[in-house]
């Protein structure tokens, strides 16, 4: 059932290609319907899944027998969480792109292709299949940014694509090495995740294979110091692009780190966990610190994404149940919140003010001109700060608890990162919306009427994302009931044994 999320998305691409050239309205509707259908399928499939602790195979058929590659789609609790996130983010992104007129059908075609690829990664349980879907997502990303982006779009697109390719090829080398060693151990070729997770790779092999694969995926997850594509790319991307990039695509990297690198190489993970934790904490604090001094509104959010992904990586590095659970929950939570933040900055503010420079925004008195946008950004900001009541708090709570056990200093430093997070969020809120200028925009009378009111799709999208974050923040069991049993399954046992179970 869940496999239909992939197929529907690609079917949507086909339908879009068949539409007449300039019919933006039809393109939007088709895209939205496809995204909603995909999300509905995701939810239904998730409900149908009896026991999230088990890995429920959706499809498994032979693909390339010589390599031991199968077309194997399966889902467990973590996959479900991320699939639901993708569905929500997809719908929200389309709602916030409702105003795209230029070559709309191609925009949405690339968009849906990206979504389809993402669904594929989250549902693949065969390494080759996962890799294929992973690579598949790079092309739509490039075009979305290069054609429909803003600041330095060609540069941003190229940088993002190149970094992604480098990352995935590091992963490829690792996967080939895995295939070779596994073939020796198992006696036959296999690329199936379940089978390979039972193979005890030699420690010496893991020592270099783990960092190779982890960093390969980590580049996309924004692992410091390989994160530099992210702020540039996010700023260059069109709103929906940024929402997806920060919201979902970065999670592909983190997911790969967990599902592939950490599951296959538990001893390697244990050997390198301190390094990863260090890099993660640096990412948290550095990302927040750099966000604090930005002049461009969107760069603040771009760097904040690096900082929040640091929490995910820190959670992964703790190697205990509560930390890993927090990491997955943070993946979900940040996906929603980052989407919301980029939506406000890109769609609600930039599309109307045509500037993202704080010096300009300060004079505009946006809190009076765009009250809905101001309120939404305040809510998104406090959610991003980790205010209790929103999803980010529960996620950070779990990550910090896991960190206390494994790396106490990291927990304290992450706390510092949270405070800096408060600071840059407050700064952005104040400068963009509530600047203290005694004379605000009243002098620019004509501009008042130039600001179109916040449209219905924008409102719906904003409310949808805020509601999700609130619901998960107040009832985290909804997702934790998927994630935690999954962490107790056999796939993760070897890994958790390294960290000391919690």
């Amino acid at each position: 059932m869940l496999a239909w999320t992939i197929y529907i998305s690609f079917a949507g691409v086909l339908v879009l290609m068949l539409l007449p050239r300039d019919d933006a309205r039809a393109a939007r509707k088709v895209a939205l319907l496809t995204a909603i259908a995909g999300f509905a399928v995701a939810l239904i499939g998730a409900m149908q899944q009896g026991n999230p602790g088990e890995i429920a195979t959706i499809t498994k058929c032979s693909w390339i027998p010589a390599l031991g590659a199968n077309y194997h789609l399966a889902a467990d609790g973590i996959s479900l969480t991320l699939v639901v996130l993708t569905g929500l983010a997809a719908i929200a992104g389309i709602l916030f792109s409702w105003n795209i007129e230029k070559r709309a059908k191609e925009f949405f075609a690339f968009y849906l292709a990206l979504i389809g690829g993402v669904y594929g990664v989250f549902l693949s349980f065969d390494l080759l299949l996962l890799f294929v879907f992973y690579e598949l997502t790079i092309i739509p990303k490039y075009f979305l940014i290069a054609r429909w982006g803003s600041t330095r779009k060609e540069y941003g697109a190229m940088k993002l694509a190149l970094y992604s390719f480098v990352g995935s090829h590091l992963v490829l080398i690792g996967l080939i090495a895995v295939w070779v060693v596994a073939k020796g151990q198992l006696g036959h070729a296999s690329l199936d995740l379940m089978e390979l997770s039972k193979v005890a790779f030699p420690i010496g092999f893991q020592k270099w294979a783990f960092p190779l694969v982890f960093v390969g995926f980590g580049i996309l997850a924004g692992l410091w110091p390989f994160h530099t594509w992210a702020p540039t790319g996010h700023v260059a991307a069109p709103t929906a692009g940024s929402m997806l990039l920060a919201g979902v695509v970065m999670k592909l990297g983190a997911y790969g780190c967990l599902r592939v690198a950490m599951v296959l190489f538990p001893e390697g993970a244990a050997m390198w966990s301190t390094t990863i934790a260090t890099l993660a904490v640096i990412g948290i604090v550095y990302g927040a610190g750099v966000a604090l001094v930005q002049k461009d509104f969107k760069f603040v959010i771009g760097y904040s994404s690096v900082s929040h992904m640091g929490f995910v990586l820190l959670g992964l590095a703790t190697l205990n149940t509560v930390g890993l659970s927090g990491a997955v929950l943070q993946m979900f939570s940040h996906g929603i919140i980052a989407g919301l933040l980029f939506a406000v900055v890109g769609r609600m503010v930039y599309d109307r003010t045509h500037t993202r420079d704080f010096n300009d925004l300060e004079t505009m008195g946006l809190s009076k001109l765009l009250p809905f946008a101001s309120a939404t950004f305040v809510i998104a900001g406090v959610a991003s700060m980790g205010l209790p009541g929103f999803s980010g708090f529960v996620a950070e709570l779990q990550v910090l608890m896991g960190a206390w056990k494994a790396f106490p200093t990291a927990a304290v430093l992450a706390g510092v990162g949270i405070v800096v997070g408060v600071a840059y969020t407050l700064r952005a809120v104040q400068k963009a919306f509530y600047a203290d200028g005694e004379e605000t925009s009243r002098t620019e009378g004509t501009d008042d009427h130039a600001m179109e009111p916040i449209t219905v799709p924008e409102r719906v999208g904003a409310v949808m994302l805020i509601a999700t974050s609130l619901v998960i923040g107040l009832c985290p069991s909804l997702l934790l009931d998927w994630i935690e049993p999954c962490l107790r399954s056999e796939l993760f046992q070897r890994l958790l044994a390294k960290g000391g179970a919690l």
Binding site: V394, L397, L400, W404, D436, L480
Partner: protein, 517 residues
């Protein structure tokens, strides 16, 4: 135990009220009235709870308990004892007074009303929650409305004041969060009552040490660090010297009705946190660092009084005076946690001290809000001026105003017969046997307070009439109505404190027993 979830209902009233009010953008009058009505409804419910409270038992009443996130030990648990109920009553009284004080303020009345109501919801939640997760939720929730109330309606320096207030408090909160996460890791519990019981059995140290196992540190040092984090969280809120620097700016930049809320109720959150959370869960650690803590309390009392004396702005003066009054609470709390060997009838002294703390919290809440209310009325008449030297001799022109504000000032000074005296008296009565040196030095605070308050009276009300104010209007009947309840309460509680003591005494006795081991 009532089966109707009164406490949840109480917290929901302002929460939902705020949601309704914020939608009333166009109808300002309606927004204001609805806000006031909601706050009066909360007052009615609180008075009902006060009436049905069983004062003879020190246990938690109106309790509610449900599982929330089982895997993390998070429960939805509410309950109030005398302390919680007293704080709820204070919040319920001060909020309508603050709203009425801001009645003329038309600017974005719907947002103002909603923010005040949400702040009230945050306060109600903080004073009733017994499990860290949702206690922390309400603790943080109160910050956002407070930030915006200062930022959007405040004085010329409001931006930095609001930001400093928010970030300072956040630092404390993050430290508090980290400490509680460590506690949960070690004990599996977020529940304040359970943790206090574990502390009484002496289990906290061993559990924390076992769970965190930082090889270089000994168990006591480890727990002291965790204690330090939690202490910081509450210390910033009270505030304890030297973590007080955010307060004078925040209080003076906020519009006076908002300052009424900040000083009247929000400041009590910190003291409440000490009483409900820090002291029961970390009594050993408090004893380990008792002398430094007592010194901090003494410094808070004396230095803030001296700082108040040096101020020229009435609001800043009263802000520092606020710090001073809460310093007495700190003094009493730390003294009550001490081992008290060689003291005659230590439980009695500690009970006196803690009774004094609760009374002081309530009385200060009342008196300080009243004082800021008066300053607000003065500002309205003077067009925003509120310097010590801006006025002079106005008692000749506004005798009623002078009289009533004078009563509030004398209450703040601690004149017997008014409410401010009882709390301070009980605190000193309790602390002198328990920590004589600290009590002795703290009396300097009382002396300096008397000096600056009398100076205030002399400069503003007495002396030659400043010609600028020869025509300022006397208190209008509406303003009189606004001010009188507080003044009457000051006399009533000064002459008959049993009204409050009767309700809280059993709770205090239980608290002393909790700390005695």
């Amino acid at each position: 135990m009532s089966s109707f979830p009164w406490l949840t209902a109480l917290t929901l009233i302002p929460l939902l009220g705020g949601v309704v009010v914020i939608g009333l953008g166009e109808q300002k009058a309606l927004a204001r009235k609805l806000t006031l009505a909601t706050s009066l409804l909360s007052l009615a419910v609180t008075l009902f709870l006060w009436g049905s409270f069983n004062a003879a038992s020190g246990d938690l009443q109106f309790a509610e308990q449900h599982d929330w996130v089982k895997s993390l030990g998070i429960q939805y648990r509410l309950g109030v004892d005398g302390l919680g109920l007293l704080m709820l009553l204070l919040t319920a009284i001060v909020t309508p007074l603050s709203l009425m004080a801001a009645w003329r303020n038309d600017d974005r009345a719907h947002i103002y009303g909603a923010l005040v109501l949400w702040l009230q919801a945050g306060l109600f939640g903080t004073f009733t929650a017994l499990n860290f997760f949702h206690w922390f939720l309400f603790w943080e929730l109160g910050l956002i409305p407070a930030f915006f109330l200062i930022k959007l309606w405040g004085g010329p320096n409001r931006g930095p004041a609001a930001t400093q207030f928010f970030i300072y408090t956040m630092v404390g909160s993050v430290a508090l969060l980290l400490s509680f996460l460590a506690l949960n890791l070690a004990t599996g519990s977020f529940d304040f009552i359970d943790l206090a019981a574990m502390a009484k059995r002496g289990e906290i140290t061993t559990k924390l040490g076992d769970a965190l196992g930082w090889k270089m540190l000994s168990y006591p040092t480890l727990v002291l660090i965790i204690f330090g984090g939690a202490f910081l969280g509450f210390a910033v809120k009270v505030p304890v010297f030297p973590f007080h620097t955010w307060l004078p700016s925040a209080y003076s930049e906020a519009p006076s009705p908002v300052t009424m809320l900040l000083t009247g109720v929000m400041s009590k959150m910190g003291v409440y946190g000490f009483l409900r959370i820090l002291l029961p869960i970390f009594p050993e650690q408090v004893r380990m660092v008792l002398t430094p803590l007592l010194w901090l309390a003494v410094l808070t009392i004396v230095l803030s009084a001296c700082a108040a004396f040096a101020q020229r702005d009435l609001k800043r003066m009263l802000a520092y005076s606020s710090i001073n009054h809460l310093g007495y609470c700190l003094l009493a709390m730390f003294a009550a946690a001490s081992v008290a060997t060689g003291v005659n009838a230590p439980e009695l002294q500690k009970a006196a001290a803690l009774n004094g703390v609760l009374l002081q919290m309530f009385n200060h809440g009342l008196t300080a809000s009243a004082l800021f209310l008066f300053v607000g009325l003065l500002e309205k008449r003077s067009g925003g001026l509120r310097g010590l030297d801006d006025f002079g001799g106005i008692r000749k022109v506004v005798p009623v105003f002078t009289g009533l504000m004078g009563i509030a000032l004398f209450s703040s000074l601690g004149l017997p017969g008014l409410n401010g005296f009882v709390g301070e008296f009980l605190i000193f009565k309790g602390v002198f046997p328990l920590a004589s040196w600290a009590a002795a030095i703290s009396t300097i605070g009382i002396l300096v307070t008397a000096i600056f308050l009398l100076t205030l009276i002399q400069r503003v009300f007495c002396g030659p009439l400043n010609a600028k104010w020869a025509k300022i209007p006397e208190l209008t009947p509406t303003e009189l109505l606004l001010v009188l309840p507080g003044i009457v309460l000051m006399f009533v509680l000064g002459l008959y404190p049993q009204l409050v003591l009767g309700v809280i005494d059993a709770t205090v006795v239980k608290m002393v027993q909790q700390l005695n081991f």
